[in-house]
């Protein structure tokens, strides 16, 4: 029972085609048996899906990105949760500046962040290392983390915390037994968004990667720069299908618009 007219639905269909076309075409072309990117397909083949297993560099980069994302998102949560608490629960001089500074990485072009960290880290020998990439990613993803944790905190009635305090709970107990369980969905949402952002991050990583510390997007970007064979398609298709699966599971618990804006679905 849609309230949209036929024109609106036609527009919507075109829009969906535009959004899905590049993703579906990648999945389609990954099943070619030819040695080049051929469409339409003449016959289905798993040749290039098997090739993923024969190419350890993509698998190594996948595990590297996974480790990088988990480490960066966890560290980001550790600094963002206290900061979000300070912002939500206290009025203090410089609070506005704190909010602006913590959100500032969103406004800094990633190329600029990349060159700044390359220059800075090369002075300490951190460029091209896991630690360097983790630090860079923490900066990139913390604004997202703060937004979701902040949204969780703003939906929380401070009287609950005060009730616990008046019943004699210490501050740490209040945080551990009352605040944390109540903001856990926000922290979890922030962690997931931060992880995905880190897992997909290309530009900053390009400046800081090295053959021994090579995240998947960087590996893929550099590979495409050299050649575009159907192996790129099968790796990309695996990423698309993986993301879709995560998204479908996630949507059951955490609607995507809430994940990305911090707000509840209308």
């Amino acid at each position: 029972m849609s309230r949209n007219g036929p024109l609106a639905l036609a527009f919507h269909a075109l829009f969906l085609t535009f959004i899905l076309a590049p993703l579906l075409v990648v999945i389609g072309v990954s099943f070619t048996g030819e040695g080049y990117l051929a469409l339409p397909l003449n016959g289905l083949s798993l040749r290039w899906w098997r090739a993923i297993g024969d190419n350890p560099r993509f698998l190594e980069s996948f595990w590297f990105s996974l480790r990088l994302g988990v480490t960066a998102a966890t560290l980001s949560a550790l600094i963002a949760v206290p900061a979000a608490l300070a912002i939500a629960r206290w009025r203090f001089p410089g609070r506005g500046a704190l909010v602006a500074i913590l959100a500032s990485p969103l406004m800094i072009p990633h190329v600029v962040l990349g060159v700044a960290l390359l220059r800075f880290f090369s002075g300490f020998g951190l460029s091209g290392s896991f630690a360097g990439l983790v630090t860079a990613h923490v900066i990139v993803i913390t604004p997202y983390m703060l937004r979701l944790v902040g949204a969780g905190l703003s939906g929380l009635d401070p009287r609950i915390e005060r009730a616990a305090e008046s019943l004699g709970a210490s501050r740490l107990t209040v945080f551990r037994r009352v605040t944390l369980p109540l903001i856990a969905p926000g922290v979890a949402g922030g962690w997931i968004l931060a992880f995905v952002t880190s897992f997909d991050e290309l530009t900053v990583s390009l400046f800081l990667a090295s053959p021994s510390a090579n995240p998947l997007p960087v590996q893929l970007f550099n590979y495409i720069d050299q050649m575009t064979d159907p192996l790129v398609a099968s790796v990309s298709a695996a990423l698309i299908l993986g993301t879709a699966l995560v998204l479908l599971v996630l949507d059951r618990f955490y609607p995507i618009d809430r994940l990305l804006t911090g707000e509840r679905r209308a």
């Binding site: 913590l102 072009p109 190329v111 060159v115």
Partner: protein
């Protein structure tokens, strides 16, 4: 409000501030300083200070060309994203609830897929023998197949694909705050669908549109991956020039000057835009106060 100790918020904010100071403010300051040094291909970074890099860039026709291209691409991308994204958010908003969630998932989900993967999809679609050209040839479009890859058009298409979900999301969030009663009231007073959209919905979601526009403009003006993959090596934008100076030519001071100019340009655009939006909002509020209209949204 919970002022038992003034030190608590400082302690809570300290870890994040330490990380930001060490891994953001210091490195950004370093870029600024680096851009003031000279460079020699034999001797490397020179110890002297000066504004030569900026002078060289501002008098370089290649830089002027890249800067114009960057702006052109960002403006086209922003315009198309608004033109397409705003109605799409409105259409999804008007769907039956059981469709809404699924549609939103399809439209916004690609945001979680790596930009490299999405650009690669466009590379496959836009090639000379790609699907788009095959369809155009079958349809008998004169001049097909076209050279689509490595053009500004390809970059804009790729960027719109990356950015338009952000506009949908931004407008969607403000639609969520829209009171459905307003719409029904307008309908019952005899307004047409288009009038309701133009006079009731649009003004109410304006903050979301403005925020989305700014985000898309800044992100497209500083985008690196899409111009590099779909524009090729010849169509340089400011960020790919910066990348080039740092990782290929290795003239770091010049690259640092480019990075500084890019950041100053983006921050200036943000400030001007925010100021513009604020004056607009103030004027609207003024009208409301004078005419006593629109006071129902308490």
């Amino acid at each position: 409000m919970n002022g038992r100790s003034n030190l608590t918020p400082a302690l809570l904010a300290a870890p994040s501030l330490v990380v930001y100071a060490g891994a953001l403010l210091l490195p950004l300051g370093g870029v600024l300083l680096l851009s003031l040094h000279g460079f020699d291909f034999e001797k490397g970074i020179l110890p002297g200070w000066g504004l030569e890099n900026y002078r060289d860039l501002l008098t370089d026709s290649l830089f002027a060309e890249s800067l114009l291209r960057t702006l052109r691409i960002a403006l086209w991308t922003t315009a198309i994203c608004l033109l397409v994204g705003v109605p799409e958010a409105w259409i999804i908003y008007r769907m039956a609830p059981r469709w809404r969630g699924a549609m939103l998932l399809i439209v916004v989900g690609p945001l979680l897929v790596s930009v490299v993967v999405r650009n690669f999809g466009w590379m496959v679609l836009l090639g000379t023998t790609g699907l788009v050209n095959q369809v155009l040839t079958i349809l008998g479009v004169p001049g097909a197949p076209f050279r689509l890859m490595f053009t500004e058009l390809a970059v804009v298409i790729g960027l719109v694909h990356v950015m338009v979900p952000l506009v949908v999301l931004s407008v969607w969030a403000s639609l969520g705050r829209l009171d459905p009663v307003l719409e029904r009231a307008a309908f019952s007073l005899g307004a047409s669908r288009l009038t309701v959209f133009r006079r009731v919905v649009l003004p109410n979601v304006m903050p979301g549109i403005m925020a989305g526009a700014l985000m898309v403009f800044c992100l497209s003006a500083s985008a690196f991956a899409t111009p590099a993959m779909l524009g090729g090596k010849r169509l340089k934008v400011v960020s790919s020039m910066t990348y080039n100076e740092f990782l290929n030519t290795l003239n770091w001071p010049l690259g640092a000057a480019l990075a500084t100019l890019l950041m100053v340009a983006i921050l200036t655009a943000t400030l001007i835009w925010t100021r513009f939006v604020e004056t607009r909002a103030m004027r609207r509020l003024g009208e409301v106060a004078e005419g006593g209209k629109g006071g129902s949204r308490a």
